[in-house]
Symmetry: C2
Subunit: 168 residues, 2 copies
Amino acid sequence: MAAMELDKTDRKILAILQADGRLSNQEVAERVSLSPSPCLRRIKRLEDAGIIRQYVALLEPAKIGLGLLAYVNVRLEKQRDAQASGSARSGSATPRTDFAASVENWPEVVACYAMTGEMDYLLRVHVEDMEHFSRFMMGTLLRHPAVLDVKSSFALQRIKDTTALPLL
Amino acid sequence: MAAMELDKTDRKILAILQADGRLSNQEVAERVSLSPSPCLRRIKRLEDAGIIRQYVALLEPAKIGLGLLAYVNVRLEKQRDAQASGSARSGSATPRTDFAASVENWPEVVACYAMTGEMDYLLRVHVEDMEHFSRFMMGTLLRHPAVLDVKSSFALQRIKDTTALPLL
DNA sequence: CGTGAAACATTAGCGGC
DNA sequence: GCCGCTAATGTTTCACG
């Protein structure tokens, strides 16, 4: 958890792997002018430090039938906590925690952040089309007891969307 | 560009590679109960069809000094097109196109979508802290001639954030 | 789709700066 | 501490059945 120092070579490695996560260690080593073993040691260090969190394949939504991307702002009801129900209360089922737990099980929701401002949460939702979106809203999101209201916007055009973070 | 049919095995491969993009072909083959060569042929097919767009390493923002995530809604000025300037007009420099071009050069902006609703664009912006954000706003975004106004919200808590799309 | 073989990549141990 | 060599092991990739 120490805030590990990154030198120029480490940053170069991160930039390379952010652009192509499947490059062989040899290829990376060559591009940073190192031999394979110290390069591999650095990559391992970055992985172990949690700086490299994961390697993934990115898919093209349109090509797997996900034609519609929505951002949904969600407002939750205020904490209505000390309301005893029939059985023993576990003590931690606030609207916020069980909304968060539900989000995990909704595969259409690929991202969810608690936000400042009027709305409590911002969700990124991938669906096939408006009908699928509608089904998700009526059948799932709006039915969740913690949800007070929502406001949706739809993506018209992707200008940029990268997983590559800026390296300071 | 044909809307390529995906069978159960293809979907399984996509699910596996969305979760770990560095698995060896052998490992993937084993998990889908195939031998390495047909498995590799399938993966190549998925790459060539553009269904697998890219392989990347995901970094942990907090561990590389990016402590603040903002979503910024941007409204552009209306097209003020037929305004001849001193020299010949190239014909395509609308506010929208040159805003889009600028976004490409701002590494803090990792995503930008044109959206329905009151605001024209939604930007996802990774910065170190409020001071960095403020510098980006005053020095870059608000200085762009096409930008009319902006509204920002900040992430308080990441509930979920995955690149893995739902497979229908 | 699977087999096999050549080319290539990974990774641990060790010596050197 | 960090680098680079070597050598054993494992993986990719393709022609062919």
